[in-house]
């Protein structure tokens, strides 16, 4: 059998998955706080090929031909936690999180900061989407009605939209009473955060993320009246899509070439 055929087919599948990822990035180019995914492609483990039934190798040994790679697959989709641009909206309920100095990590990758949100099952989720709203009972929630948590782990009740948030996230309501401080947590390895949709990120590491408030090594700024835009770069994504498409096409051509070889094998070998 022609081994390269599977390699070409695997290449097509991998490029298609990459295309799907890029489409999703592009679809979320206007989603506040969205972090673009990046694909990492990995080749299948190498195979060692040996020739059998040859008389070149001494008896009892096999003759090694060499290594062969049979294809590629999309290993992972890593979100890029780079800061998105801030856009001024003037709405009191739009609160952007701006990262400042981050501590050095062992891996050399930068950590990231997040808001904490309680989902409908009472579990803690993380998000960068600062497009909030006030629900009927006067709590700060996401646009889908999930509570934003304060630094003491409690939900935040401000009453109405006339509240102020300072740069450290301290919320003062329209009566001038300090209500709470928006919790900001630090993820040393943000790669352990898994996207769930609706801007939610689930932490897959040990325990929960620790608050960044009062941590001297971390600086951040909270900006009321601003939204953090998606960090998807549309032109880069289109370029990558074109390259994914062309790689897909190249793999398809290879597959066709194999098909032609097979056609010859079927129809012309042994033809009298």
């Amino acid at each position: 059998m022609l081994r390269g055929m599977y390699g070409a087919a695997a290449g097509m599948i991998a490029q298609q998955q990459r295309q799907e990822m890029l489409t999703n990035n592009l679809a979320n180019a206007n989603t506040p706080g969205f972090k673009a995914d990046q694909a990492s492609l990995r080749s299948f483990p190498n195979m060692l090929i040996a020739a059998m039934n040859t008389n070149r190798a001494p008896k009892g040994q096999v003759q090694v031909v060499g290594e062969l790679v049979t294809g590629v697959y999309l290993q992972e989709r890593m979100p890029n936690f780079r800061q998105g641009d801030l856009m001024e909206t003037g709405n009191n309920t739009d609160i952007a999180l701006l990262q400042g100095v981050m501590p050095q990590t062992e891996s050399g990758r930068q950590g990231a900061l997040f808001y904490t949100i309680e989902n409908e099952n009472g579990e803690v989720r993380y998000s960068r989407n600062g497009n909030f709203t006030i629900n009927g009972e006067g709590f700060i929630t996401t646009t889908e009605g999930h509570y934003i948590l304060g630094s003491n782990g409690e939900t935040i009740q401000v009453g109405n939209e006339e509240f102020r948030v300072n740069e450290q996230g301290v919320i003062v309501n329209d009566q001038g009473v300090q209500v709470a401080q928006i919790n900001v947590v630090y993820a040393e390895d943000p790669m352990l955060l898994v996207k769930e949709g609706s801007g939610f990120l689930r932490y897959e590491g040990e325990g929960e993320l620790q608050t960044a408030i009062g941590n001297g090594a971390i600086t951040f700024q909270i900006q009321q009246g601003f939204l953090e835009r998606s960090n998807v770069d549309a032109s880069q994504t289109m370029t990558e899509m074109m390259s994914a498409y062309r790689t897909f096409e190249a793999n398809q051509r290879i597959l066709q070439a194999y098909d032609q070889s097979l056609e010859k094998a079927v129809n012309e070998i042994g033809k009298i």
Binding site: T23, N24, A27, T31, I134, E161, A234, M238
Partner: protein
């Protein structure tokens, strides 16, 4: 199946909604007392796909095992933005503008033959004959709905009036033809604490939801407010739609729409290549 077609077309549908919101705002950029709406996006569910069951075979991975495949974006909300519109001086004695954010006139309209109370920021008022008493006039909106006073009653005035004015205390004073001045009450103003609960029903009116169904009391959402300098006579409040901003949003939405349609055509070309495998 190439899911990029699905996620891109779902997103295009949602973008169409955003453009609908923008065009509604643009259409009302000259409507008195109009408040714009703003559509914002949120990402759709992610699907966990297990590619490699044995984590130890995945050398050098940074993220947890499996890949998360997203399915596009959706409109998260179309939030009502209540910032103050510009004041337009008309010098007409029945034009009133509310000068404080989140405050509304109380308007009585008919729904299924029953009088119901609605809210409005449009202060273009007219006189109309009081259906209950032909010797009186009432103040109505441009649709003929009654404007209510602070007690929730229709504002009435005698037929032989000469002029109407709003004093600094917020009282409506009517000067009659014989020179006497009569106080006919105050405009009923309502302050809305949670404007996102307001429902736009057209004709510049806003309806309030059923509070009991939401587990709320009316007092959590509404507050009666005194006129007390919050209404200015002879002026109208223009629409708070910023044309430049809306056009910018429209352009971005349209480009975003194009990007998504390009993604669909690429996915289609890829499907074509797959079909072309066997000639």
């Amino acid at each position: 199946m190439n899911t990029s077609m699905i996620s891109a077309s779902v997103t295009m549908g949602q973008l169409q909604r955003k453009m609908d919101t923008i065009s509604h705002n643009l259409a009302n950029s000259n409507t008195t007392g109009f408040k714009r709406r703003e559509a914002t996006f949120s990402d759709l569910l992610f699907q966990q796909v297990h590619t490699q069951p044995n984590a130890q075979n995945e050398v050098g991975r940074l993220t947890p095992n499996g890949i998360r495949v997203g399915s596009g974006a959706k409109i998260a909300e179309t939030a009502l933005r209540l910032e103050q519109g510009p004041f337009i001086n008309t010098d007409r004695e029945l034009d009133f503008a509310i000068t404080d954010k989140n405050h509304f006139f109380r308007i009585q309209t008919m729904e299924n033959g029953n009088p119901v109370e609605r809210l409005s920021r449009d202060g273009t008022f007219y006189f109309s004959e009081n259906p209950g008493n032909p010797n009186q006039l009432t103040i109505v909106t441009s649709n003929g709905d009654f404007v209510l006073d602070q007690n929730g009653d229709r504002i009435t005035l005698p037929l032989n009036f000469q002029s109407i004015s709003l004093n600094e205390e917020g009282q409506l004073l009517v000067t009659l033809t014989d020179g006497t001045v009569e106080n006919i009450g105050e405009f009923g103003l309502t302050r809305v604490l949670k404007p996102q609960l307001l429902d736009s029903i057209g004709d510049q009116l806003y309806r309030l939801p059923n509070f009991a169904a939401l587990g709320l009391a009316a007092g959590d959402v509404l507050e009666a407010a005194a006129v007390n300098g919050r209404v200015s006579q002879g002026t109208l409040e223009g629409s708070n739609v910023d044309l430049g901003n809306e056009m910018n949003e429209l352009m971005m939405a349209q480009r975003h729409y194009q990007f998504n349609s390009r993604a669909i055509s690429m996915a289609d070309d890829m499907a074509g290549l797959v079909n072309g495998l066997r000639r």
